[in-house]
Every structure is written in C-alpha cells, then in structure tokens.
C-alpha cells in the first residue's frame, strides 16, 4: 500500500495515526475508447502497490487469456470487472477503485468512453473533485474529449488533468504534446474550468506516472501521482451557510424529537438560529446529538441529529437552514438536464424528481436549447434524447428549498425518475428559480388548519363521490350534507353540474378538459380543506390518475374516496336526464360509459352499491365512517 514497511513493522500505532489523518480525493478518469483509461488506473494501482500477490497472479493468468499486450501485463484487465465487457474489450459501466499513497486516499471512478454510455460518465463526475481526461497523443482532441470536458465543467468540477497518453507512440514528441495542450486550452477556456494541468504520459510504459520520466526531459511539471497528492480541492458548499435536509425524524420517546440528516453546507452549533423551509418557521438549535455524545459544532459532510428549542412541525424533506441566510424556495426553475434514457424526455409528461430528501411530481417545458458539445453551440429542440443535454424549465408540484448548483452541489442537483419503470432517466442542475414562483413567498400563517379544526370541533376532509352519470352521487351528497349540517359541521357541496356553469364554464368533455376540470375542483377542495371544512364533491371523475391527483392535494387521511356503484345497465335504463339516449344516438360525444371509459376505483375508502341500500342509508354510512375515523364526534 505504498507504506514505509519499516514504520508498519516498528510502530503500527504511529503509522495508523498518520494514515487516519490522510485526506481523501475522489477523481474520475474519462476519455475516448482505447485512450487507455483502464490501463492508467491499473498502472496507478500497481505503482502505489495496492495490488497484492493473488491479484497479480490472477492478472498474469487473465493477461495470457484475454490480454491485448502480448506477454506483458494488461493492466486494463484489473479494472474491467464484468465478463460482458471483457468479451467486448471495452468498459461499459462506472467502476470504483481505491488506493492509498503516503499522503492521500483516493477513490477513482473509471468511466466509459464511447458515446452511448455518457450517462455513466456523468454519474462518475457527480461525486468527483477532479477529472483526469485522457487524450491519445496520436489522435489529439476528439469529439469525446470535448463532450467529457463539457460534462465535467457542467457538473462543477474545477480541476482537470489533461493526461496526454501514449506519448511513447509519437516518440515522446514535445511538439505533439504542446500542440494538443494548446488546442485543449483554447476549447476549455470557453468552459470556465479554473485549473488545468497537462501531463505527458505513457500509462503502458509508466512514464510520468509516479516520477519524472527520463523520456520527457523537456517536461518540468509534476508526475500524475504527485499532482493528485498535492492538488488542493475544497468541497462546494462547505464554506456557505448551514443547510441540512431532514432525512428522518427520530422519536424514540415523547420527550425526544430529533431531526436526522447530513449537513450539506456550512456549520451548526447549539444556540444557532435556524429557519426551516418550506414552512419558514424559526427556532434555535438545542443540541447536536450523536451516538458518541453531543457535539459543540458539526460541519458540512457530517451526519447528525439536531434537536430544536421549539416544538415546530418538521418532516422528511424539510431543510434546516441558517436563519440569516436561508435557501431559496420555489417550484419553478431554469435547469440543465442530461437525459439518460432511450425514451426521450417529453415536455409536459409527468415525471418524478428527487431533490434532497423530497420526491416530487414534476414536468419539463420544451427545451430552450440543446448544447452541441463539439462547439458549445445552442440548437433548437423539441425533446431531449439519450445523452443529450439541454436547458429546460422545470415545474414541481410543490415548492422546495434549493440553492443554485453553482453555490451548493447537493442543494442544487436532482434526478428524474420515470413514473412507470422507476428508472433514473435523467439528472439535472438547478440554476435559478423562475420569477413568478420566486416572488410568491409561502406565508408561515399563525392560524393553521389544526387551529381551525379545533374551533370547528371537527377535522376537515374531502368526501369525493365518484360514479357514472345518474348513479345517485348528487342525491347521496345532498343527504350527507344535510346530516352533517345537523351535526354542526361546516360543509360545502361542490356539484358537477353547478361547477360546469361557473368555474369550468370554458371546458368541454374531451379527456384533456376532464383532467383540467378535476384539477380545478381538486384545488378548490384543497383550499376549503385548508379552511377547515368538510367538502363534499359529486363528479363522475372517470380517471384514476385524476382522482389520485385530487387525493394528493390534501393531507394523509383527508381524502375519502366514495364509489357510488350503480351498474351501467341500470343507470342507462333510468336515464333521468335523457343523456344516455342522446349519447347512444351519437348526439353527445365523449359520454362516460358509452364512448369514454370509466375507470373503477381500485381501493376506495367506501363502496356504496346503490342496488343494496337506499340513499338515506348510504349517507348515514358515510357519516358513520367520519365518526369512526375521528373526523368528528357523534354528538357533533
């Protein structure tokens, strides 16, 4: 392990103290196919003596069997772990490797070169402090070099090592080295990378890996390992204000309520004023709890449990911030998105976005432009295909705390998840909040839902009646409201036909309009629930996804889905409004049950079969449900 054997032998304890205080550098290697990335890493492991006898003997065996270097060791085989890629002779995924020198510990992400696996390179770069970009001295700066440099810069890596490799193949030519260095710097100047160091290498022969090579007397800079050991990198966000997203609320007993999370920015001490987002409520840090006792101070990178002086409501996904310098709060952003899936990103399609400890409903606008990685030009586009990078607006279903990626990597990054496959399909960086959402601050109100519930003497909720036209929803809804009113509950009935005369006057009956109609009703119901009322709605609401949407707008337990189940043949036979007849004759388009589907509720809270009970009994059943579930008391 590159350690002075004598110190290990003589004073292991002293050696360990030294070893324990080493710093850590995470870096990635990237470049085109056959630039020699795996060989370079294999060489670093070999030179830092991280390889042990059995690994070396396995390598010798593998080199004979699969190697491309004749009788010599093929270092690439050390890192190409999966059998599939051994057969193809290429690296197809991100591999993490570990080695230690006298001064530092290293975690290396070996990332693939060819185009279709760019997503893996972005993955490797997202946790790296430095990037080693390989260039084949015979080929110079290629499209892939530019692509990878762009992504490295995009992901906020401030240090680049340009490893000009295979210099032995061009006779260790200084002119070749200088020409590539010049061309690269010209391109990189547009990317805003602060530190670029070019090193002439032969990973295969070992030139300038650990020490200055006699083959390149004209080169006076550091060897690769020397540079990796000495380069100073500091974490983005560490110097900034306190940020701690709450991952988990720790409640072992009624008198302890701790908020667990990793500090992603700044420091925290007992007595610090903090502001919790999105609520905006403030408090003071009481203790910084850990298994090893309370801390006087904790810093970015540490996982801790905070307790606060005041009892305020905090849950997973909230962010504890420095009171004087809180994060932003918004639900619309300009972002850069790297798409990672074969199915292109579609503007307007619902996705999930994971940001900190929040998973949110999300959709993207049409890309403002794509970025051509060869020349950084902006191109017009309607979608984002696999490996494309573009700038798009992102809309979330609620406001979340964030910082710009440039200020704090962990507070400004997100992944995009497909709702059906659950695959991670994209990754993105937040640049800034869009003004319309930024200027609407969420007011921390003094009188909240709970306070209103106390005054009303009951909890708020939505009774969502769904069923075919003519199934009896409105009749039952009316009786429910009458019974609740008699119990002194504050109620409001939103009826389908009535809403169509006002709130949704401009909407028709296409699928898209039905979706919008339910969204509006859901929003109105949400406000009324917030106002403390029991809202009764009677709409056909034929689609599961929109009922789910309405459910998601209110709190857990506040949505009671009631399936008013009357068979189609019965409602059609009754046809009290004559609508089914019209629909069957084709005079009425998109009529639910006739030429537009009704998706039966999968697990409604209540299922009323109207053929088995009269409307009065059905309504009593609904009121009983509310009493049983603690929404209200029997006495009212």
């Amino acid at each position: 392990m590159g350690a002075p054997t004598s110190l290990i032998e003589q004073d292991i304890e002293k050696y360990l103290v030294v070893h324990q205080n080493k710093s850590l550098l995470r870096f990635i290697t990237c470049g085109s196919v056959d630039d020699g990335k795996s060989t370079l890493i294999g060489r670093l492991l070999y030179e830092s003596k991280a390889l042990l006898e059995d690994q070396l003997s396995a390598l010798e065996g593998d080199s004979r069997k699969f190697g491309t270097q004749g009788d010599e060791l093929d270092f690439a085989l050390l890192v190409d772990g999966l059998s599939a890629e051994r057969e193809q002779g290429i690296t197809i995924d991100v591999a993490y490797r570990f080695f230690t020198t006298e001064r530092r510990k290293f975690i290396v992400a070996d990332t693939p070169g060819h185009e279709q696996y760019t997503r893996n390179m972005v993955t490797g770069a997202s946790t790296a402090d430095l990037a080693v970009i390989l260039v084949d001295a015979r080929k110079g700066v290629l499209t892939q070099t530019r692509r990878h440099s762009f992504l490295v810069a995009l992901l906020g890596i401030r240090h680049i090592v340009l490893a000009i490799n295979k210099l032995d193949m061009v006779g260790y030519s200084r002119e070749t080295f200088d020409a590539i260095d010049r061309e690269y710097r010209e391109f990189a100047s547009k990317l805003g990378v602060e530190h670029i160091v070019s090193i002439p290498l032969s990973a295969l022969r070992g030139d300038n890996i650990t020490s200055a090579s006699a083959n390149t007397p004209w080169y006076v800079g550091p060897s690769l390992l020397q540079h990796l050991e000495e380069v100073a990198v500091d974490a983005i966000g560490a110097a900034g204000p306190l940020r701690m997203p709450v991952q988990w609320v720790n409640r072992p007993s009624p008198d302890f309520r701790g908020f667990c999370g990793r500090i992603l920015g700044g420091r925290v001490r007992p007595g610090d004023r903090v502001r919790v987002l999105p609520s905006g409520k403030q408090s003071t840090v009481a203790r910084v709890n850990t298994f090893d006792g309370d801390l006087a101070e904790a810093q970015a990178g540490q996982s801790v449990t905070l307790t606060l002086a005041d009892e305020i409501d905090i849950s997973r996904g909230d962010v504890i911030c420095a009171a004087a310098d809180p994060a932003g709060l918004a639900d619309q952003f300009e972002t850069t998105v790297v798409w990672m899936n074969e199915h292109a990103m579609l503007p307007g399609r619902p996705y999930l976005v994971k940001l900190g400890a929040n998973t949110l409903g999300a959709s993207f606008g049409q890309p403002k432009y794509l970025i051509d990685v060869n020349n950084l030009d902006h191109l017009a586009a309607k979608t984002l295909a696999l490996n494309e990078t573009g700038v798009c607006n992102l809309t979330l279903d609620r406001a979340v705390a964030f910082d710009a990626y440039a200020d704090n990597r962990d507070m400004g990054s997100f992944i995009v998840i497909d709702r059906l496959s659950n695959q991670t399909v994209g990754a993105g960086l937040l640049h800034f909040a869009l003004r319309r959402s930024q200027n609407i601050h969420w007011q921390a109100v003094e009188v909240d839902k709970q306070a209103r519930a106390r005054q009303n003497g009951h909890k708020p909720c939505v009774l969502w009646l769904t069923g075919l036209s003519g199934s009896g929803k409105s009749t039952i809804a009316n009786i429910v409201e009458r019974q609740l009113h008699a119990l002194d509950a504050r109620t409001y009935l939103l009826d389908g036909d009535n809403v169509r005369h006002g709130l949704s006057k401009d909407l028709g009956f296409t699928d898209a309009d039905r979706v919008e109609n339910i969204r509006r009703i859901g929003e109105v119901a949400r406000l009324m629930v917030d106002a403390g009322m029991i809202v009764i709605t009677a709409f056909i609401s034929p689609f599961r996804s929109e009922r789910r949407l309405a459910r998601s707008m209110v709190g857990e337990g506040e949505f009671v889905e009631i399936f008013v189940d009357t068979p189609l043949e019965i409602v059609e036979q009754r046809d009290s409004k004559g609508l089914y007849r019209k629909a069957r004759k084709g005079e009425l388009k998109n009529f639910t049950g006739v030429d537009s589907p009704y998706e039966i509720p999968e697990s409604p809270e209540l299922h009323i079969e109207t053929l088995r009970s009269d409307p009065e009994d059905a309504a009593t059943g609904i009121v009983d449900y509310l009493i049983q579930h603690g929404v209200m008391n029997a006495a009212g």
Binding site: E53, K65, D93, W248, R267, K354
Partner: protein, 300 residues
C-alpha cells in the same frame, strides 16, 4: 474545527445511506453474516438511528455450516443490540443434506445462501435489504451501485443498473421488486479494521490468531470445527496458530498462519501481507466470472 478525516467521511456517508434507505423502505432488514463487515455495519446502524434503536430486524441466512464460535457471537450481538434476530435455514437444502464435501462449494453456496436468501426475503416480504459488501472486495463488486435494484425474481442486471448521481439514491420500485443497499460500498479492508480499532467494535474471535486444529487441503488450511468434517486418508488435524481474514462456512474458509492476537497486530499483518482477503474464500475460485454469475442469480 479541522477537516474531516477519511474515516469520518466514510462513517457519515454510511449513516446517510442507512437513514435514506430506511426512510424510503416499507419493510427493511439488515443481512447479518456475523463477519467483521457485518459488525461494522451494525455499529453504524446503531449510530445512524441513535437514540432510537435501528428500526429493522437482523436476518442471518444460515447454512448450518458456520463455525461454532460464530453462532455464539451471533447470539451475543443480537442480545447487545436489542434487535430482533431472524435466522433462515433453507429447509430444502436441509432435507437434501447439502454440504460442501459431497456437493461442492458451488452447489452448497447456491442452495444454502442464494436460494436461502431469496426464500427469506420472499417469506418476510422485505423490500430493502442492507448488505455489508464493499466495492474493493472483488472486481464485479467495483461496479455495484449503493442502491442496487433487484427484479421480483431477485436478479441483478449489471447492464441495466440505474445511474447513481451525487448522493441522490433512487429507491423506487414496484411491488415484489426489492433493493439491496450497501452502506459500506466505499470502505476498504484497511478502513474496516482501522474503524474496528478506533471504535472498539467487537468481532468474532476467529479473526485473531489461536491454536486451532487444521488440515492442509488443496493448498488451503481448513479448520476441523466439528465431527462432520470427513478426514481423507492420511489427514490428521494439526494444532497450528492460525486466524481467518474472512469468515464463511468453515469447510470453505481457508485459515492463514498467524500470531496476530490483537486488532493492531491484524492491521500490521494485513499491511505487510501480500494477498487479498477473498483469497481465503473458495467460492471465488470456481471460475473467472464466478462472483458476477452468482450475483446475477441473487447471491449477495
């Protein structure tokens, strides 16, 4: 306040992973294999949820062929941690009397461990399982995600892994599918031992050198732990000062000659030694891509 050391960063990352997985899981479990990595993982879990107890049980997929001392240690750790310990034994393997001597290491491992693990996860309906695997252990593990998705058939598809960026772990799955979570992904063997040393974490005594009855077979020192060990012609167990760098089923775990009786001496020996810990594991030697194949089938 000084910068965090490498071990402090690793610890914080592991705690972060443990909490995130628990927050996203419906029914999590920690796979407990009794070895040193499990000891460290359990210790980290106690830190992560302190002052609460870790909100999940421990699951040991037992092969009935572990060292006797390991069973004693397992009982002790369950009692000390206060966590529920579930032990699963594959009744089919038990009925067939599967053992490494007559059935070979491949079949033994497949039935007792791979199949046993799948059975246990299905039976209890666990959707998230913590494992102590490290990326530095073996080549195919170097590419493993921290949150590693498994199909409803428990299969791992190395070519279709979810990209894992920053510290944003995608824990979403459909019913029946599961996620294996590896909080120790970025630890090395040296990190593990150094942490055990610093935190004074209890480990199975087999890691320390002692006089033990062993026979030399196929270039490996195998301990004769009980009467089930069929001695070959001319084999006589000899008492030798040995220890184990890795612990599995006793007939499949090679010992190394050693005089290291303290954690410090182990670290010293490890730093001076020139072989990796998995060398003592016979299953890796079955074929070149053996671990990858096992993992695709559902082995941890």
């Amino acid at each position: 306040m000084s910068a965090l050391t490498h071990l402090q960063r690793l610890e914080a990352e592991s705690i972060d992973i443990l909490r995130e997985a628990v927050a996203e899981a419906e029914h999590p479990v920690m796979l407990y294999s009794i070895g040193k990595d499990s000891s460290v993982m359990l210790h980290l879990a106690r830190k992560a949820f302190f002052p609460s107890r870790p909100p999940f049980p421990l699951l040991h997929v037992d092969t009935t062929w572990k060292f006797k001392v390991m069973y004693e240690f397992r009982a002790r750790m369950a009692a000390e941690s206060g966590l529920q310990l579930l032990v699963h034994i594959n009744s089919e393997a038990e009925r067939l009397g599967i053992n490494p001597f007559t059935h070979g290491s491949a079949r033994h491992t497949d039935l007792w461990k791979t199949e046993g693990l799948k059975q246990a996860l299905d039976q209890h309906g666990f959707d998230v399982a913590f494992g102590g695997a490290r990326r530095d252990e073996e080549k195919s593990r170097a590419k493993e995600r921290v949150f590693s998705f498994r199909s409803a058939q428990h299969r791992w598809d190395p070519k279709n892994q979810r990209p894992e960026l920053w510290r944003l772990y995608n824990a979403r799955k459909n019913r029946g599918e599961s996620i294996r979570v590896f909080p120790l992904s970025n630890w090395t063997e040296l990190d593990i031992w150094q942490y055990i040393h610093l935190e004074d974490i209890p480990v199975v005594p087999l890691y320390f050198a002692a006089e033990r009855p062993v026979v030399e077979r196929d270039g490996q020192l195998i301990m004769v732990d009980d009467a089930r060990f069929p001695l070959r012609e001319g084999e006589t167990p000899m008492l030798r000062s040995v220890r184990f760098r890795t612990l599995g089923c006793y007939p499949l775990t090679g010992a190394v000659p050693s005089r290291a009786t303290t954690v410090l001496a182990i670290i010293q020996e490890m730093l001076l030694a020139r072989t990796t810990e998995r060398q003592g594991r016979l299953i890796d030697h079955d074929s070149t891509a053996s671990m990858e194949n096992k993992k695709a089938e559902g082995y941890f």
